[in-house]
């Protein structure tokens, strides 16, 4: 059994006061870096960085499903979007697990750094999205450019249901 220990991290607190408060509208979102892309996650979702969780690998599943984490009695699937982005599986020792939602709705993602809090209202929409794998492209609603990275707004449920389907 492969055990990937995640050395990590504090639970995330959505401290909106940390965000600069310009006169313009503020719309805070979590930004997580995965490979060459960034993914935006609504702050209305319950999010946490998992500390030292054991990822239990599964046979006969899609390669982007790294395994399962036992999160307080709920089995949470772990997705590796780098595999979906065709950038190869990253080094799990250097990455962290980012869990979104709770109970049976929870999923975990490998992320390359701690989540950052971004202001969507201050981000510029990308007119033309970079070429993405079809499975991802279908579920991207918007792209924003910030800090030299493209941050994607995704249809969360639809994307992960599609990635989790084995039918």
């Amino acid at each position: 059994m492969q055990k990937d220990e995640i050395k990590a991290a504090d639970p995330i607190r959505t401290d909106i006061s940390e965000i600069p408060q310009p006169e313009a509208k503020v719309e805070p979102v979590f930004g997580v870096r995965i490979g060459t892309m960034g993914i935006l996650v609504s702050t209305s979702r319950f999010c946490e960085v998992l500390d030292k969780s054991q990822v239990n690998v599964l046979p006969n599943v899609h390669p982007w499903i790294s395994g399962i984490v036992n999160l307080r009695g709920n089995l949470v699937p772990v997705f590796d979007l780098r595999v979906v982005l065709e950038e190869g599986a990253g080094d799990s020792k250097k990455r962290r697990l980012f869990a979104v939602d709770r109970d049976d709705k929870a999923i975990a993602l490998w992320i390359d750094n701690y989540p950052e809090i971004k202001n969507r209202a201050a981000m510029h929409i990308v007119q033309e999205l970079p070429k993405l794998p079809p499975v991802l492209q279908r579920f991207v609603t918007n792209g924003y450019e910030l800090d030299g990275l493209v941050w994607l707004d995704i249809k969360f449920e639809e994307l992960f249901k599609s990635l989790g389907s084995h039918q």
Binding site: N56, V61, I68, L75, V135
Partner: protein
């Protein structure tokens, strides 16, 4: 209306009243206008009579006063007006019912006037005190005429007091006084009907300071006594007494008139509501009676308050608004009692009980105008923490008097002729009482089932008991639906009850046609019940069904019950095919009535949580047991070490004793005693001895620890059993009886029989078996399909069956049984069985068989399970839409089950389904596959053998075969099944072989080793990971690791998939739904979309829906249905525009389009046809007609396509 007519009074009283009539009409009081005009006629008659001349002016004055008063206290005055108009002096030639109608009209005006007064608080319209005095004097005269001298006195005293007040100026402009006086005539009326309470109320009224009555307490008491006694001695109240007192004819007649005037007819509905309220009042009483001492007072009053709240709520819903208001006042008092519990005395307790007694006395006679007095009597008593103000009391009393004619009167109206959409509406009122609704939802499924069972027995013969049962259930349902406010159910059950009552009264059983209608109605009720529970959409045919029942009810009203059929009188056309449906249970025994435990409604999510938590407990227990096992091993190792220590200690001791090399030197020091003469021990002796003893002690402690560990293990085992029991009990809460799907199956067979014109009956056996609700829901579709197939393909026509010596009615049996962890369903029919010739011909046509090729019947059977294989050359709308047993099999296989067929030509077919039930706990073998740790559920494993027991031989084609005890078994490695890469040049060795049963064959599965075996709790992999072929779920092991739990038979059936390291599209697996014909439903009404969706899904279509033409046009860009059903009127793009759009698009122009609309005119139909619509249906649409049309159009379109290709 000012008294500008005074001057005309003497010269032309008729003109005065006509003026009043005109003014009434202008004010919108048409009832009052009628009353004036009637009075005009009466006055004209009186004028012709010279003797009456003198009275006319007084009468007109009195009337005009009443008209004036009407503005301020319309409801009370309307009653007074009717008393006036009924006066014998006027001699108005009208019947009682005409008076009643006029009274209702004036009451209606009164309501309008009251609303107007509410919105415009004009004080200027108040009658003056003088006018009140005139009225009071008139009342005094009336009292004298009736021989009620006490009442006359009271009126005269009041009038006198008022005159005094005017004279001394104290009454000028006193609004309070004027308001107070407006209630007086109502109280007089109340007194006339209920002298005892009425007298008390009259005296209470007179005692008010604002009236400044110059009477002392003694005088008041005397007056009360006189009032209370004279009424009962002078005038009998009892209607029977009236009729018996022939001598007192004028008075008695008058009294009877009054009696009739105020006693509205009571409908059955009203009586039910009264029953309901009486029950609720009993609850209040029981709470009050529990109050015994100070300690129980607080609890009792709190409970009383809760029950009173409930009572008030029911009263309000039932239409007893006045009673609800009084109850609200009582609740305020009770609240005050609770706040000041010390002041809650026995007197106050009695006060509450007395009020309740009066309410219980009032309710059965609420329709009598005087009854309301009971509810308000004594509320001004000082004993109350909050005595009721007189004005409030008068208003409430007026309210109650109005209700006496309103409650339940609506349903007593003439039976409607035609059903409307509103009559079948299941919409909940905006202020629905959730508690009552929950109660209805809880009881309704059982009640509708009872009703259905009873009418089915009636259809099959039955007796009066069934009529009574059905009537009782309809009655209960109606009451509940009325209370909650669900009109659709209330209306249907109301009509059903009336029909069944007629059956009971005339001692006739429903004939076949009526029984069929009742069955349709019971189907409709069941569908409504399901719709309310959120399980399905409201029945589409509800209006048609209600109309049918209404027709029956109206026919029975006019012509009485139809005669019961004799064999000769049943015309063949009246027989609805397929309605001879019975269940084994129904046929064999009576359905028990309402024998059930108290049920508790719990949110499903809570049960899920409980289930999850109990699963967690089992996992934690496993972890504790695992830890205990490790501790035992450590203790064993420790014991070995202790044994060694003990042994070493003994050896050391021996050495010291034998050699004693140190002891000698120590003993010799200064003792002078030889060592042989006395044992002498030195420190080494002592230490070695102590060490040996410590080793023994440690060993014993270790043994004790072992014993404790044993005890702990026993406790853990016990706890494990307990938690597993908890989980099983929780699992049981998710179980549903199979009989709950019986109504749907029955409806389906009836519908199919109607469409095919065949006669069949459905018998269910073992339907009381309880299985997991989700599994049952998933089973419904395949079972319905099998049922339709059996009727359509299996059962012969009536003539064919008779020719073959079979009963005219085909018999289809669904038998449910449980076999281990699977549910076994045997579906048998006594039809013609499989037509092997036709299957062979179809197989040859498709190139699956060569002409003349030898093939067994078993192999031919397998053909019909192949995708898209149909032996029929012409498909039908019922089951042959290109979907056959292959689709059923696919659905069953997707559920992890199996399907087998048995057929006997000419005698019928049996389809056996085995469907696994969801597992929460399974016994599993633990093994490794490469780096993966795996739990293998014991499901399907018939034998475990060790590698040496058989020989695995590699075949030329790369496959392997196990030779075991003379048999050869196909062999596969678990590693290959799971696509785990193995880079070894030689195959991995295997340590164990699992013999797995799957699809009637045994496969040997090779695994490396069995590392452990245990019960494991199965958990899901979260919402986002779909079903992984071969996985039941995953489990958390004792050490906290998560491993998948495999279902090897399913894994063996799973399609081979490629799991490479790079992104691949998810593999498409066999999707039965993809073979179904597709339909696009376009309708802006959600309920219509849902109704059609359910109908067509049940009929075997794959359905997509759109909300309007624009959305449909967008859907059609990427989705090609086989047919489109559209509404006509929709926002953005209507049905005609949509049809035109479809006809202009090259890709979809061939699509058949059916329009379903409520527009019945030829113009709309022509517009639709011009736009390219192929079929036009007006609502309500018969399901069969729609399905038939769809089938025809689809076939036509397919033909066209073929021709053009």
């Amino acid at each position: 209306m000012k008294k500008t007519f005074k001057t005309d009074l003497e010269t032309d009283p008729v003109a005065v009243i006509e003026q009043l009539a005109d003014e009434s009409a202008q004010a919108g009081f048409y009832g009052l206008q009628d009353a004036n005009l009637i009075l005009v006629e009466a006055v004209r008659e009186l004028q012709l009579d010279s003797k009456a001349d003198k009275d006319i002016s007084a009468l007109v004055v009195a009337w005009s006063d009443l008209v004036e008063k009407f503005k301020d206290s319309p409801q009370q005055t309307s009653v007074d007006m009717m008393v006036f108009l009924r006066s014998p002096e006027l001699n108005i030639p009208m019947e009682d019912d005409e008076f009643t109608m006029l009274g209702e009209q004036i009451s209606s005006d009164a309501i309008t006037a009251a609303e107007a007064t509410d919105s415009d608080n004009s004080i200027s319209a108040q009658p003056s005190i003088e006018e009140h005095i005139t009225s009071i004097e008139l009342l005094a005269d009336q009292a004298a005429a009736d021989g009620l001298y006490g009442l006359q006195d009271v009126n005269l005293l009041l009038a006198e007091a008022l005159r005094e007040a005017i004279n001394d100026g104290s009454a000028v402009g006193t609004t309070e006084l004027i308001n107070t006086l407006s209630g007086w005539s109502g109280l007089i009326d109340g007194y006339r009907e209920e002298p005892k309470n009425g007298a008390l109320i009259l005296i209470d009224f007179l005692r008010q300071p604002c009236l400044t009555m110059p009477l002392g307490d003694d005088e008041f008491a005397m007056l009360q006594e006189q009032l209370a006694t004279e009424r009962s001695t002078n005038q009998p109240i009892d209607e029977h007494s009236i009729s018996e007192t022939a001598d007192a004819a004028p008075i008695a007649q008058d009294a009877k008139l009054n009696e009739e005037e105020f006693s509205a007819p009571v409908s059955r509905d009203a009586l039910e509501l009264v029953d309901l309220l009486l029950q609720a009042s009993e609850q209040v009483r029981s709470c009050l009676l529990e109050i015994g001492d100070n300690d129980s007072a607080l609890t009792g009053l709190t409970q009383t308050e809760e029950e009173l709240e409930r009572f008030a709520s029911v009263a309000k819903i039932a239409g007893f608004e006045g009673l609800a208001q009084v109850t609200a006042h009582i609740i305020s008092n009770v609240k005050r009692f609770i706040e000041e519990i010390e002041s809650f005395t026995i007197d106050r307790h009695d006060l509450l009980l007395e009020w309740l007694n009066q309410v219980q006395e009032y309710l059965p006679s609420f329709n009598e105008s005087s009854a309301g007095q009971l509810v308000v009597a004594g509320l001004m008593d000082d004993q109350w923490a909050l005595p009721m103000a007189f004005e409030d009391l008068a208003n409430i009393l007026a309210q109650i008097r109005t209700e006496s004619t309103d409650v339940g009167s609506q349903t007593e109206a003439a039976r409607v002729e035609s059903a409307t959409d509103e009559d079948v509406s299941l919409a909940l009122p905006s202020d629905v009482n959730q508690e009552l609704l929950d109660l209805l939802l809880q009881e309704m499924p059982l009640q509708t089932q009872q009703f259905s069972a009873a009418v089915q027995r009636l259809q099959a013969g039955g007796d009066q008991k069934d009529v009574e049962l059905a009537q009782r259930v309809a009655h209960t349902l109606k009451g509940s639906a009325n209370t909650v406010g669900i009109k659709g159910i209330a209306q249907l059950t109301h009509q059903l009850e009336d029909i069944l009552i007629a059956c009971a009264h005339e001692h006739k059983l429903p004939n076949r046609a009526l029984a069929n209608s009742l069955i349709n109605a019971s189907d409709c009720l069941e569908s409504m019940s399901e719709a309310l529970m959120g399980l399905s959409s409201p029945p589409a045919d509800a209006k048609t069904v209600l109309q049918d029942i209404l027709d029956w009810a109206n026919r029975i009203d006019k012509e009485g019950m139809p005669d019961t059929d004799t064999e000769e009188t049943v015309p063949a056309t009246q027989m609805i095919p397929g309605v001879t449906v019975e269940t084994a249970e129904v046929a064999e025994k009576e359905v028990p009535e309402q024998i059930q435990e108290t049920l508790v409604r719990v949110p499903a999510g809570r049960i899920e949580t409980l289930f999850r938590v109990s699963g967690e407990s089992i996992i934690l227990n496993s972890q504790a047991q695992e830890t205990s096992r490790r501790m035992r091993n450590q203790l064993k190792a420790m014991k070995v070490q202790f044994d060694l220590l003990q042994q070493l200690g003994a050896e050391l001791e021996q050495l010291i004793d034998l050699r004693d090399f140190t002891g000698r030197s120590l003993a010799a020091i200064g003792s002078g005693i030889d060592a042989m003469e006395m044992d002498q021990y030195n420190e080494l002796h002592t230490v070695s001895r102590r060490m040996a003893e410590a080793a023994i002690d440690a060993r014993e402690i270790s043994q004790d620890a072992n014993k404790e560990l044993d005890k702990m293990n026993e406790l853990l085992d016990e706890q494990q059993r307990l938690v597993i029991s908890v989980q099983e009990v929780v699992m049981q809460t998710r179980l549903v009886s199979i009989s709950t799907i019986a109504p749907r199956l029955q409806r389906s067979i009836r519908q199919t029989c109607r469409m095919t014109g065949k006669q069949s009956e459905l018998v269910l056996k073992g339907e009381n078996l309880q299985i997991d609700g989700d599994t049952l829901n998933a089973m419904v579709d395949p079972l319905m399909h099998i049922l339709r197939n059996a009727v359509d393909h299996g059962i012969e026509s009536e003539s064919e069956r008779l020719a073959q010596g079979k009963p005219a009615t085909g018999r289809i049996t669904f038998e449910f049984d449980r076999d281990g962890n699977t549910i076994l369903v045997r579906c048998r029919d006594d039809g013609k069985g499989l037509d092997y010739g036709a299957i062979r011909a179809a197989a040859e046509k498709r190139g699956l068989l060569k002409p003349g090729e030898e093939v067994s019947e078993d192999e031919l059977k397998r053909f019909i399970l192949r995708p898209n294989f149909s032996s029929r050359t012409v498909s039908t709308q019922t089951s042959g839409r290109g979907v056959g047993m292959d689709a059923v099999r696919a659905q069953i296989v997707n559920m992890g089950g199996t399907l087998t067929l048995e057929s006997q030509q000419g005698r019928g077919m049996t389809i056996e389904l085995r469907i696994p039930l969801p597992l929460s706990l399974t016994y599993a073998l633990l093994t490794y596959v490469g780096r993966y740790r795996i739990a293998i559920a014991n499901k399907g494993i018939s034998q475990i053998i060790y590698s040496a027991a058989g020989e695995v031989v590699s075949e030329h084609d790369g496959t392997e075969t196990l030779h075991l005890e003379g048999n050869n078994y196909p062999t596969v490695r678990l590693m290959d099944l799971l696509h785990v890469p193995d880079h070894r040049k030689v195959p991995r060795p295997y340590g164990a072989i699992l013999m797995v049963e799957n699809d009637d064959k045994t496969t040997a599965v090779l695994i490396e080793a069995i590392n452990d075996s245990k019960d494991v709790v199965i958990k899901g992999l979260g919402r986002y990971v779909g079903k992984i072929p071969g996985y039941i779920g995953a489990t958390i092991l004792g050490d906290g690791t998560v491993t998948p739990v495999l279902d090897i038979p399913e894994l063996l059936r799973a399609p081979v998939r490629s799991m490479t390291g790079v992104y691949t599209q998810p593999m498409e697996t066999f999707e039965p739904a993809s073979m179904l014909p597709t339909v696009l439903i376009v309708d802006d009404s959600l309920s219509q979309r849902r109704a059609l969706e359910q109908l067509l899904t049940d009929a075997g279509y794959r359905v997509r829906t759109s909300r309007d033409g624009i959305e449909a046009a967008e859907t059609l860009v990427n989705f090609m249905p086989d047919i489109v059903l559209t509404d006509l009127e929709m926002p953005r793009m209507n049905g005609i525009e949509l049809a035109s759009h479809i006809r202009t698009q090259e890709k979809i122009r061939h699509l058949p389009v059916i329009m379903i609309t409520s527009r019945t005119t030829l113009k709309h139909r022509q517009m639709a046809e011009e736009s390219g619509v192929d079929g036009y249906f007006t609502k309500p649409v018969r399901d069969e007609d729609l399905l038939l049309k769809m089938q025809n159009l689809m076939e036509l379109a397919a033909e066209k396509m073929k021709t053009s290709a």
